[in-house]
């Protein structure tokens, strides 16, 4: 079954806006501590982890040293090398699906998008769990039973630091893309029903 013109346009927008993910941070981690009135935090991009302000990543690593957390070294995280290609794949497949203009391909692409999204979050959690629990036994500060897994989404108190984790602009756009694709499907059904009458 072919997609209606209007829903096909929505589908196009859903695919195209994903290109912005190459430029915008997907996730943000904000850290609040009494000594940092100016704020400190990280952005997670498709291919990098970066300080919100210059030198923030270095500062986070220097702070984490005290509790024995491994340093975050973006170059050593393989996912950051692979993700740009996965995103590229999602966009290209989306374009092909759009080109066919068939509804079942739109449905297929939505499923792909959801799988990739969930996989991304799971992977993020695995890393966060590893950073937060796999601590250097020689760390200067050891709090028995304490782990430092940052929240996947939401806010959590880790010693003196309040850590908040939320989608950044790129993450919002990814979600928006999914919503647009799903609404394309939904409106397509309603339009077809209307036009059949």
């Amino acid at each position: 079954m072919k997609l209606e013109k209007e829903s096909r346009t929505l589908f196009a927008v859903a695919v195209v806006i994903l290109i912005l993910l190459y430029f915008l941070p997907i996730w943000r981690i904000d850290l609040k501590a009494p000594q940092y009135p100016e704020g400190i935090g990280l952005y997670i991009l498709i291919d990098d982890i970066r300080g919100q302000e210059r030198n923030n990543l270095l500062s986070v690593n220097r702070l984490n040293k005290y509790i024995g957390m491994q340093a975050i070294v973006p170059e050593e995280i393989p996912e950051l090398q692979i993700m740009p290609f996965i995103l590229g794949g999602v966009i290209v497949i989306g374009a092909v699906c759009w080109f066919t203009g068939r509804r079942k391909y739109l449905t297929g692409w939505i499923i792909l998008l959801v799988i990739v999204g969930i996989a991304g979050l799971v992977d993020f959690y695995i890393w966060a769990y590893d950073y937060g629990t796999n601590l250097d036994p020689q760390a200067p500060i050891k709090v028995p039973g304490m782990t430092y897994i940052p929240p996947l989404i939401g806010t959590k108190q880790l010693l003196n630091i309040t850590a908040s984790s939320y989608p950044a602009s790129g993450g919002v756009i990814a979600g928006l893309s999914g919503l647009l694709a799903i609404s394309a499907l939904y409106f397509d059904k309603r339009l077809k029903k209307k036009r059949a009458q």
Binding site: E38, N55, L58, S59, R62, K65, Y66, P140, I141
Partner: protein, 654 residues
């Protein structure tokens, strides 16, 4: 006889006034709780103005916030500061170099903010030293002294620096005339052999100073200066006293004549004359010390000549304006038209008119010549006299509503008078013995007329006593209304001779938080712990050390011997705001060095006995600051202990 009689009257009046202060009504009856609201800056809030106070005999500049009167910082300028290492570390030692050698102290007097179109631009603060005449430039991004220029052919560099409208020039004049060039002559030959100099120092776009020319002038005491503004741009005014040219017991002998002079100098005319070849090169010896912001190092250059100009060879370059009784301050109003003089022993404040001065020059209304310099007729230049200005008027500042404020030392008060009517409209006592006053922008074309800071020479009973030496007393006065109101007392460092203030927003956004480690071009910097190392070269050992939370690299060093000269080049490799480290070694005759992020400093240590010498971080940098320490093993001379160093369990052997 006449002067002795005046003196007695003055003393009598002082005693009456002092008595009035002590016996009179309850002190500061007019200060109400409302004053507290005006100066209270709630915790976490920021002040409206940065105020820069000279430290006088402290040799430094202190930075205060207004209206709170809170002290933020003491910037080392002409005096060493062991707290930071200033003047001891190799990077700043050369800033204090002079033709007399390295001098660890001086007497700072008049801060002067750099100006653009007659308004402070927030780039630099200049300040002079009086004892060994010099001018320093402080960068207002880092609040660090970046340059010091010595002024040759001078002594008592008091009338300085007083920037011109666009910081074309700073000036320095001799308060103590001396032979030029210096010579071994009987002091009694003062009149034949002594001279004054008025030096003009150019400032380029980077702030770098250069001694452009010196006017050779009669051997009076040149006291203070003020630059022309607007219509009077291009002119500089200097007060002088001791036109009697006395060389002993000046308190009496220099107070004989009814009038001394304000010297009006047309520096644009001087430039023309020098351009026409009227200047001449004179031998001189002076140092120019400049600090490089990228390498942190300072470089001293010895200079050997200056360009001098005799007023005789440049008609029109200089005129004398007779001004009553040993004038101290000279202050040009924001319009650039009026020139107020504070005759310390005078009974009026004479205010000269710039336009009338030009007319008098045009009409050759000269009453005399001194050394070929025309003396203008007093009546021809005077615009008005403020009557009853208090006893011992010294300095005048202006607001933006057409009023002048003059400090009176002997009667210890601020006197407010109106430009044009020359009438006193208000007065307020200060505690005690008022010297300089400062209205933010009050010496520029756009004063901010809210506050006036009084800088009192004495504070007597204003604070809890701390022994015979009292702090000098700062007082904040509200000048925004018709009547002046006392707001706040705050103690000052040293003896502030004048101050400057500037709205915070002109400086705050540009202030550096740290030095970029990747821009650090210090020749001996390390950028990472892996670059830390120890290198021996004969009896000299260089330690290239990194400081980072919370350790030094290296933190164990062996193989140093008595008789070695050990250079520690320490770099703070932090890249985060306000993470400082310090470095000090047991028994070192140097003070500690304090390093802010991205900064490198060097000190030389000469161990004189064998043993183990701990070193540690002196600036509480982190939760493990106490752990930030290390050891140096010093062996007897010739012991042959191999050079070894490291951090952690691995030692590197060289």
């Amino acid at each position: 006889m006449q002067s002795k009689y005046n003196y007695l009257i003055t003393v009598g009046l002082v005693m009456v006034l002092v008595a009035a202060v002590f016996i009179g009504c309850p002190r500061d009856a007019e200060v109400t709780h409302e004053a507290a609201d005006r100066v209270y800056i709630a915790p976490g809030d920021l002040d409206e103005f940065y105020a820069f106070m000279s430290g006088g005999f402290s040799g430094q500049v202190s930075v205060y916030g207004l209206p709170s009167g809170r002290l933020f910082k003491e910037i080392p300028v002409f005096s060493v500061k062991p707290e930071e290492g200033y003047g001891y570390e190799l990077e700043t030692k050369d800033l204090l170099m002079t033709s007399f050698g390295h001098i660890p102290w001086d007497d700072t007097h008049h801060p002067s903010l750099s100006l653009t179109d007659g308004i402070p631009d927030g780039r630099w603060l200049f300040i002079n030293s009086n004892n060994t005449p010099r001018i320093a430039r402080i960068c207002l991004e880092t609040f660090k002294t970046m340059e010091i220029l010595e002024i040759p052919h001078s002594a008592g560099g008091h009338a300085s620096p007083y920037a011109t409208m666009n910081t074309e020039y700073l000036v320095s004049a001799t308060r103590f005339s001396v032979p030029v060039p210096q010579a071994d002559v009987p002091i009694s030959t003062y009149k034949e052999n002594f001279a004054g100099t008025l030096s003009f120092i150019s400032v380029d776009d980077n702030g770098t100073m250069d001694l452009d020319f010196q006017l050779i002038v009669p051997g009076f005491n040149y006291d203070l200066a003020s630059s022309g503004n607007g219509p009077s741009h291009g002119w500089m005014f200097f007060t002088s006293y001791n036109v009697e040219e006395a060389h002993t017991l000046l308190e009496v002998k220099a107070s004989q004549f009814d009038k001394d002079f304000i010297a009006a100098v047309n520096w644009q005319r001087a430039q023309e004359c020098i351009g026409d070849g009227q200047g001449r090169t004179k031998e001189a010896e002076y140092y120019h010390n400049v600090r490089n912001p990228d390498t942190f190092m300072s470089e001293s250059t010895r200079k050997t000549s200056t360009t001098v100009l005799e007023p005789d060879n440049c008609p029109g370059v200089m005129y004398f304006l007779p001004t009553p009784k040993s004038p101290h301050g000279v202050d040009v109003d924001p319009s650039g038209e009026y020139i107020a003089a504070g005759g310390k022993l005078a009974s009026v404040i004479p205010v000269h008119s710039f336009s009338r001065m030009l007319e008098a020059i045009e009409n050759e209304a000269f009453e005399d010549h001194v050394n070929g310099i025309p003396v203008l007729d007093y009546e021809a230049t005077i615009a008005g006299e403020v009557q009853d200005p208090g006893l011992g008027p010294l300095h005048t500042e202006f607001d933006n509503r057409g009023y002048g404020y003059t400090s009176a030392y002997i009667s210890s008060e601020v006197v407010k008078w109106e430009i044009g009517t020359w009438e006193v409209v208000d007065r307020i006592p200060t505690y005690y013995s008022l010297g300089h006053i400062m209205v933010p922008g009050g010496n520029t074309m756009e004063p901010y007329g809210q506050y006036l800071v009084a800088m009192n020479k004495s504070s007597k009973d204003r604070y809890l006593p701390v022994g015979p030496k009292l702090p000098q007393g700062g007082q904040l006065i509200d000048i925004s209304g018709d009547r002046m109101r006392m707001l706040l007392d705050f103690p000052l460092i040293g003896e502030p001779h004048y101050a400057q203030a500037i709205p915070a927003e002109k400086i705050q956004p540009n202030v550096k938080r740290l030095y970029d480690l990747h821009q650090n071009q210090h020749p001996n910097a390390v950028r990472d712990v892996t670059e830390a190392r120890v290198v021996r070269d004969g009896n000299t050992v260089h330690v290239y050390m990194a400081a980072v939370r919370s350790h030094f690299a290296p933190d164990n060093i062996e193989g140093i011997h008595v008789g070695d000269e050990v250079y520690f080049h320490v770099t703070n490799i932090e890249e985060e705001w306000d993470i400082g480290h310090g470095f000090a070694i047991l028994g070192d005759k140097n003070p500690n060095i304090l390093l802010m992020p991205g900064e490198t400093k060097s000190i030389v240590w000469k161990p004189d006995r064998p043993g183990i010498f701990p070193f540690y971080c002196t600036d509480f940098c982190s939760a493990l600051h106490q752990e930030m320490q290390g050891y140096i093993r010093v062996s007897p001379e010739g012991a042959g202990t191999p050079l070894m160093y490291g951090t952690g369990d691995e030692m590197v052997t060289r």
